[in-house]
Amino acid sequence: MDIAIQIALNALIAGAIYSLVVLGFNLLYSTSRFFDLGYGAIAIAGGYAVLYFYKLLGLELWSSIILGIFIAGILGFCIEKIIYRPLRTRKASSAVLLIASLGVLTVIQAVLAILFTSQFQTLGRGAGESRTFEIFGGAITQTQSIILITALVVMTALGLVLKYTLFGKAVKAIADDEEVASIVGINSERMIGIVFFIGSAIGGMAGIATGFDTGLQPTIGLSLLLKGVIAAIVGGIGNVYGGVLGAFLLAIIENLGAWQFSGEWKDAIAFIVLVVFLLFRPQGILPK
């Protein structure tokens, strides 16, 4: 029976990374209201920042990670300021913003490829460095457990912040109606800037986790983002807990599919889940 346990653990590991992706994505989407494709590349840029500090400069692990998260946040913040904000003040449609974000994705990918080559690189310093825990005959490594715990901590923190702080309330107000929010005195431009910083920083965590788990490549940002989008739609777009639920559900279905059918169907299964939800429950499991 240990195959079922291992499959469940595999789903947990994949789900943890999807969760981080969806948490940042949901936050950005609820305020800016467009599918920010650049988010995928920003997440990977966070991973590459850690690669630079940790592996190339030889900095200490945790300070590299914090720097990586910070750089992803700053990058998201700047891109919002330089590219998305002028478009939004010109009342550009979300289709225009989507295309602009496609440009952001392409440019960041290209820059990463120039700086770090398009080769596959992993953030771990060597094989067998991480301890492995045995759980009922299944295996999970220390790094993977840390990723899982991080995802759950970020989810709880974000949920609490959005519910109980003034900032959270302001974000919700902007999500409901940006114009009315500014009329009642919320500085929506500043708020959106902060949201882009936090959302991109969470995305950076996802990119860093990916770097430790399956390794980095400039082009994996898009597939990472797509998994996050599917998780968001399945869970209920804009809902913090729904997104995480969707992420784990997606991971479980994917891994079950790989087990019961065949590994080559993994991506197809993910998109079938998306289509089924779009057709029969477009509001997701936990609507906003």
Partner: protein, 386 residues
């Protein structure tokens, strides 16, 4: 207003005329190039210059350029300089076809060196054949390329040989009855799996296969499944070392340490062998290895290092790449720069001495000779001994 308009309209007509006439005379001069014997000889080169497989494409381009520079420095071919036109095939059929279309129809080359991957090469050949352009690959090893076209040849053996060697040792010497295969969905891996499976099942063994598409990075559940099959060995069959490294890392995380069979694409990657040294200890593999004591190969290795500052990687692929340029040089010198004539000439290549050893091309376009088996020991490949 009208006057100005008419004046500027006239201006535009003149400009258009100049462009058209000028263009014609320039293009016309170029168009006549194959018949004039003075311009440079343009040879098309297709390889994966970007993406995972760029680890082959980059040294491939360097090696080809090294040979061309040498030829040009010694007077070119019959007094004409050689010029390479590099196109990115990205290791896949679609980009390979685009590259071939451009080289055949726009640049009007008579010979194409490449592709490096089987997937690229399989789509390049039919396009080149239509344009009567000869194609020669240094490393595409899929059995599907054997006898594919009279316009194609390769100074590299077919995977039929690699699959054969591996399956025979696995079953007969090692006594493995059940081999799990994790296979990337690319032409190279499909072709090699087919041969391996055919020979291995023919001997009485059984294979269990899981496939994955090239963009997959999480192999855990597929590996979990294969582990539960309790195979005697796992055949890691990928196009590039990147996937192999991910698979090995995730196997270790799953606490699975089976006997391993590696394809030549990963066995040729030094980084994979040294990083995953303990997991790969004793792994069975096979490579097409040029003879290291060959003086031409030694010269190529030292020249490459002097020019590019790094060691020449993937000797099994790069030595043939280097040889191809000189083979084409000899071909052009004897029959002229003409795809059709070069194609016929290619079948007469016999005991041609190059950096990859003695090259003989059989009537189906393959190099005569084959793979030798190896084992991984202490992060390096060694010849296999029973």
């Amino acid at each position: 207003m009208e006057r100005v308009n008419r004046g500027s309209a006239l201006m535009w007509v003149i400009v258009a005329l100049v462009v058209v006439v000028g263009g014609f005379s320039i293009l016309g001069g170029k168009g006549g190039a194959p018949s004039t014997e003075t311009g440079p000889i343009k040879i098309g080169v297709i390889g994966p210059l970007t993406g995972d497989a760029a680890i082959y494409g980059e040294p491939f381009r360097n090696t080809v350029q090294l040979a061309i520079d040498e030829i040009n420095a010694t007077g070119g071919i019959g007094g004409r300089q050689v010029e390479a036109i590099y196109e990115d095939g990205q290791c896949n059929g679609k980009e390979g076809a685009n590259a071939a279309q451009k080289l055949v129809n726009v640049d009007k080359v008579q010979a194409i060196i490449g592709g490096v991957c089987s997937g690229e090469t399989l789509t390049v050949v039919p396009i080149a054949e239509k344009g009567r352009v000869v194609v020669v690959s240094p490393s595409a090893s899929s059995p599907a390329l054997t006898g594919i076209s009279p316009y194609f040849f390769r100074p590299y053996p077919s995977d039929a040989s690699q699959g054969n060697v591996l399956a025979n040792i696995a079953y007969t010497d090692k006594g493995w009855k059940k081999v799990a295969v994790i296979q990337e969905q690319v032409d190279y891996a499909v072709g090699l799996y087919k041969v391996f499976n055919q020979v291995f099942s023919g001997l009485g063994g059984k294979t269990v296969k899981e496939e994955f598409s090239s963009n997959v990075t999480d192999f855990r559940s597929v590996l979990t499944k294969l582990k539960a099959e309790k195979p005697d060995a796992l055949f890691v069959l990928t196009q590039t070392a990147a996937s192999t490294q991910r698979i090995l890392k995730q196997m270790e995380e799953l606490n699975w340490k089976p006997q391993i069979i590696l394809d030549e694409a990963s066995a040729g990657d030094k980084e994979t062998l040294t990083t995953y040294k303990s997991q790969l200890e004793g792994a069975l593999t096979s490579e097409f290895i040029p003879d290291l004591s060959n003086a031409k190969l030694q010269k190529l290795m030292s020249d490459y290092k002097a020019k590019y500052g790094t060691e020449l990687p993937y000797l099994g692929y790069m030595a043939p790449a280097y040889d191809i340029v000189y083979i084409l040089k000899d071909g052009i010198a004897s029959v002229g720069y003409n795809g059709e004539k070069l194609a016929t000439w290619s079948r007469t290549i016999k005991d041609w001495q190059g950096a990859s050893g003695s090259v003989t091309i059989s009537s189906d376009g393959d190099r005569v000779g084959g793979y030798s088996s190896e084992v991984v020991h202490d992060g390096k490949t060694e010849p296999y001994k029973k």
